[in-house]
C-alpha cells in the first residue's frame, strides 16, 4: 500500500511535473500546443485553401472519429456530398476537373477531424482558385504551396503533405 502511494508520487507527480518543467523551458511554444498543428474551418472564405472535411466542426478539445464502416450507406452519402461541394467550388477555376481526378483526402474526413494537412495534389487543384481569387500569379501561389509542404525523410518516407494553416497564413501575409 505504501509502495503504491510511493509509485503514484514518483510516476504520477514527479515524472510528469519534471517533464512539464523541462518542456516549458526548452520548447515553450510547442509545449502549450502549436496552433498550426490543428486544422481550422476556412469554409467561410472561399478565396483560401480549404481543410479536409470534418464531422466534428474542427473541435480540438472534444475529438471523435466519424466511425462509419466501409459498406455503410450513410458514409457513401457523406462522401457524395463532400464530392459535390468540392467540384462545385473548384470546377469554375479548373474546368476540366472530374470526380475521378479528385484526390481522396479532399472528400474524406480525417481520423482526428483536425488534420491540418491536405495532399499535394489537392493543393495543386485548389491553387487555381486561390490564385484567381487573390489576383496572384499561379506560380507565386504554387511556390507558397511548396513552402508549406513536408517531405518526410527527403521524400523517401511518407506522403507529401501541405499544411493548410501555414499556407493560408503565408497567403494572408502576401496581401
Amino acid at each position: 500500500m505504501i509502495a503504491a502511494v510511493a509509485l503514484t508520487i514518483v510516476l504520477g507527480l514527479v515524472y510528469p511535473l519534471a517533464m512539464t518543467g523541462i518542456a516549458q523551458v526548452v520548447w515553450p511554444d510547442k509545449a502549450d500546443g502549436d496552433p498550426t498543428l490543428v486544422a481550422r474551418d476556412y469554409s467561410e472564405d472561399a478565396s483560401l485553401f480549404q481543410s479536409r472535411p470534418s464531422v466534428t466542426e474542427y473541435a480540438a478539445d472534444a475529438t471523435f472519429f466519424n466511425n462509419q464502416g466501409p459498406n455503410q450507406e450513410e458514409l457513401s452519402d457523406q462522401l457524395a456530398g463532400y464530392m459535390h461541394d468540392y467540384l462545385e467550388r473548384e470546377q469554375p477555376f479548373t474546368p476540366d476537373l472530374v470526380a475521378a481526378d479528385v484526390p481522396p483526402d479532399a472528400v474524406t474526413t480525417s481520423a482526428s477531424g483536425i488534420d491540418p494537412h491536405i495532399s499535394f495534389e489537392n493543393a495543386e487543384i485548389q491553387a487555381n482558385r486561390v490564385a484567381e481569387e487573390h489576383g496572384l500569379p499561379l506560380e507565386q501561389v504554387l511556390a507558397l504551396v511548396d513552402d508549406a509542404t513536408s517531405r518526410p525523410l527527403l521524400g523517401l518516407g511518407g506522403p507529401k503533405s501541405v499544411n493548410v494553416v501555414k499556407l493560408n497564413d503565408a497567403l494572408e501575409a502576401q496581401r
Partner: protein, 550 residues
C-alpha cells in the same frame, strides 16, 4: 501505394530488428542484477524484494499488487471532482465507466469507454491512468522474466521476486526511455503543460508499455499526441521495442541466443504478412467510396500527414502488440483491412504481443508445439531439455484456449441480448464486427476499437454516457483475459523450474531451427485463429467480398 510507403515499412522492420539485441542485452543485465543504482537497490530492500519466491508466492504478489492498484485507481476516478488540475471542471465518471476504465488500465488493456479530454481531469490522467500505464506494463514484463528464469533454472523451485522485478523494470527500463523519448516528442510538437494537458509524458509510456489509452479520444491521430510523420515513426518503434527485446532477453537468459531469434522470426513473419495485406487493402477504395464516385486510396479516417503506409503499419503493430493505440479510425478500414487487426488479436496477442504477456503467451504455444511434434514422432516432448508432462500440457491448454473461449462467450452474450445490442452504432455486418472487435480487444487486453461501439459516449451525445451492460461485461472480460493466462504461465513456471535439464541428443527436437519456426507459426494459426473463422466470416469477410451497402 507509393514506393515511399513500402520503403517506410522496410525501414521500420530494419530498425526494429536492429534495436532488438541492443535493448535485449541491456534488459538482460538489469534482470541478472548487474546494473545497480544505490537508491533503487535500497528501495528494493525496503520492499523485501530479494527473498526468493516460488510460483505461488510470486503469483500472490502479482494479485495483491494488482488489487491495490485497482483500488487506488478506482478511488481516484470516483473522486475526480475534488482533485486539482481540472481546468474543465469535469465531474467524476459514473461507477460503471470507472469500473471498466480501472479494469482496463490495471490489466494493460486501455480500452476506453470514455473520451479522454471530456471525461478525465489532468490529475486523473497523470496520477491515475499514466501510473497504471507504467505499473501494468511492469507487471507483464516481470511475469515474463520469471517464466524465463524458470526455463533457465537448473534446479530449485524459485522464480525470482516479484517486487524486485517490478521496481527494476520501472526504474531501469521504463522510466529512462520515457524521459528521453518523451522530450523528443515534445520537440516534435506533442504538448506538455498543466493547462492543456501533460500529454507527452503519458504518450511515451502509452506506446512503450503497450498500453494504448490516449489522452485524447482520437488517440494518436490527434496532432497534439502525434504531430508529425517522424513522431509517428518513433511511436511505432516504441510499441514493439520491448516485446521484441524480450525475445532477445529470453535467448540470452536460457543461454542460446538462437532460441530468441527463432521466436522473433516466427513473430516477425506473421507481422509482415499482416502489414502487406492491410497495406494492399487500404490502398484500394471501399464500396462506400465507389458508390460516391470517390477514387483512390481509402483515406477516410486517416491522417494525411501519416498516409496509408503509416496507418497500415500502425493498425498491424498496435494489434500485434497488445497496445491498442490508434493513429486512424479502425472502424473506417476496408473489410479486409479490418479483418487483420481482429485476427492479430485473436492469435492471443502473441505476435510480439503485450510487454511480457506476448512472450509468455508465445512460449506457451512453443510448449504446445513441441508437445504436438513429440506426439507425431512418438517421443517424450522436451522444451529446452525439460520434459513436458501432463501437468504442463493441461496448464498450457488452459492458458492458450481460455481467452478465445472467453472472447467467443462474451461476444455471443453481447450480440444475443438487447442490452448488448444497444452498444452497436453501424447497421449490417459492421454492427457484428463492432461487437466481435470489442470483446476480442478487451478479452485479449488490446484496447483498440471499432469506436462506433458504444460510440455515443462521444461528446455529441454526452447524455447517453455509458452503457452499464457493456461496461461491466467488458471489464470482466479484461480481468479474465489478463489473469487466466498469467496464472497459468506462473504455474507452468513453477513446475518447470525444478525439472532437471536433459542433454540434447540425436533425437531431440530442436527449438532453435527454421523447422520449429514453421511449426510455431502453424500452431498459432491452427489453435488460436481457426477458432474464430466462423465469427470472422459473418463480419469483416462479408464486407470485404461484397459491394453492397447497408
Amino acid at each position: 501505394m507509393t514506393a515511399a510507403g513500402w520503403i517506410e515499412i522496410a525501414l521500420y522492420i530494419a530498425v526494429l530488428t536492429a534495436i532488438t539485441p541492443l535493448l535485449g542485452a541491456y534488459m538482460t543485465r538489469v534482470y541478472r542484477g548487474e546494473l545497480t543504482i544505490g537508491i533503487v537497490e535500497r528501495s528494493i530492500d525496503l520492499l523485501d524484494g530479494r527473498r526468493a519466491q516460488d510460483w505461488k508466492a510470486y503469483a500472490k504478489s502479482v494479485l495483491i499488487s494488482s488489487a491495490v492498484f485497482f483500488g487506488v485507481l478506482y478511488l481516484i476516478l470516483r473522486t475526480q471532482g475534488i482533485h486539482p488540475w481540472n481546468p474543465k471542471d469535469l465531474d467524476s465518471a459514473p461507477w460503471d465507466v470507472a469500473f471498466n476504465t480501472t479494469a482496463s488500465f490495471v490489466t494493460n488493456t486501455n480500452w476506453q469507454f470514455y473520451a479522454g479530454e471530456t471525461t478525465m481531469s489532468n490529475f486523473s490522467q497523470m496520477t491515475g491512468l499514466a501510473v497504471q500505464n507504467f505499473a501494468s506494463a511492469a507487471v507483464g514484463i516481470a511475469v515474463a522474466v520469471a517464466f524465463i528464469r524458470a526455463l533457465a533454472a537448473r534446479s530449485g523451485r524459485n522464480i525470482g521476486n516479484f517486487y524486485g522485478d517490478l521496481v527494476k523494470t520501472l526504474v531501469y527500463v521504463l522510466l529512462p526511455i520515457s524521459v528521453v523519448v518523451g522530450l523528443f516528442l515534445v520537440s516534435q510538437g506533442v504538448i506538455q503543460s498543466l493547462t492543456s494537458g501533460p500529454v507527452a509524458s503519458q504518450e511515451v509510456i502509452k506506446e512503450l508499455g503497450t498500453n494504448g489509452g490516449g489522452f485524447f479520444n482520437v488517440n494518436s491521430a490527434h496532432p497534439f499526441e502525434n504531430p508529425t510523420w517522424l513522431s509517428n515513426f518513433v511511436e511505432l518503434v516504441l510499441i514493439l521495442a520491448i516485446p521484441a527485446a524480450l525475445t532477445s532477453v529470453y535467448g540470452r537468459m536460457v543461454g542460446n541466443r538462437r532460441q530468441g531469434w527463432a521466436i522473433y522470426s516466427a513473430m516477425l513473419s506473421l507481422l509482415i504478412v499482416a502489414v502487406v495485406v492491410v497495406a494492399i487493402a487500404e490502398n484500394g477504395s471501399t464500396p462506400a467510396m465507389d458508390a460516391a464516385g470517390v477514387t483512390g486510396m481509402n483515406m477516410e479516417g486517416k491522417e494525411q500527414r501519416f498516409g496509408v503506409a503509416s496507418t497500415a503499419l500502425w493498425v498491424v503493430v498496435t494489434t500485434a502488440a497488445s497496445c491498442g493505440a490508434v493513429n486512424g479510425a479502425m472502424e473506417s478500414l476496408s473489410g479486409i483491412g479490418g479483418l487483420v487487426p481482429m485476427a492479430n488479436m485473436q492469435t492471443g496477442e502473441v505476435v510480439f504481443g503485450g510487454v511480457g504477456s506476448g512472450l509468455y503467451g508465445m512460449l506457451m504455444f512453443a510448449i504446445l508445439g513441441v508437445f504436438l511434434s513429440g506426439l507425431m514422432v512418438g517421443r517424450t516432448p522436451e522444451f529446452l531439455g525439460k520434459k513436458i508432462e501432463a501437468r504442463e500440457i493441461k496448464l498450457t491448454v488452459f492458458g492458450t484456449i481460455g481467452v478465445p473461449m472467453l472472447v467467443l462467450v462474451t461476444s455471443a452474450l453481447a450480440i444475443a441480448s438487447d442490452d448488448g445490442r444497444e452498444s452497436i452504432y453501424n447497421s449490417g455486418p459492421q454492427g457484428w464486427s463492432e461487437t466481435l472487435y470489442a470483446y476480442t480487444s478487451q478479452g485479449n487486453n488490446n484496447g483498440s476499437a471499432f469506436a462506433g461501439y458504444t460510440g455515443f459516449v462521444q461528446p455529441a451525445d454526452a447524455e447517453q454516457f455509458g452503457i452499464t451492460f457493456a461496461n461491466v461485461l467488458g471489464g470482466l472480460a479484461m480481468i479474465g483475459g489478463r489473469f487466466l493466462p498469467l496464472l497459468a504461465v506462473l504455474a507452468i513456471a513453477g513446475s518447470l523450474a525444478g525439472k532437471r535439464v536433459a542433454p540434447a541428443g540425436a533425437g531431440t527436437f530442436r527449438t532453435d531451427s527454421p523447422t520449429f519456426v514453421v511449426v510455431l507459426i502453424a500452431i498459432v494459426l491452427i489453435v488460436a485463429l481457426l477458432t474464430f473463422v466462423p465469427a470472422l466470416l459473418l463480419g469483416p469477410v462479408v464486407q470485404g467480398m461484397t459491394d453492397q451497402l447497408f
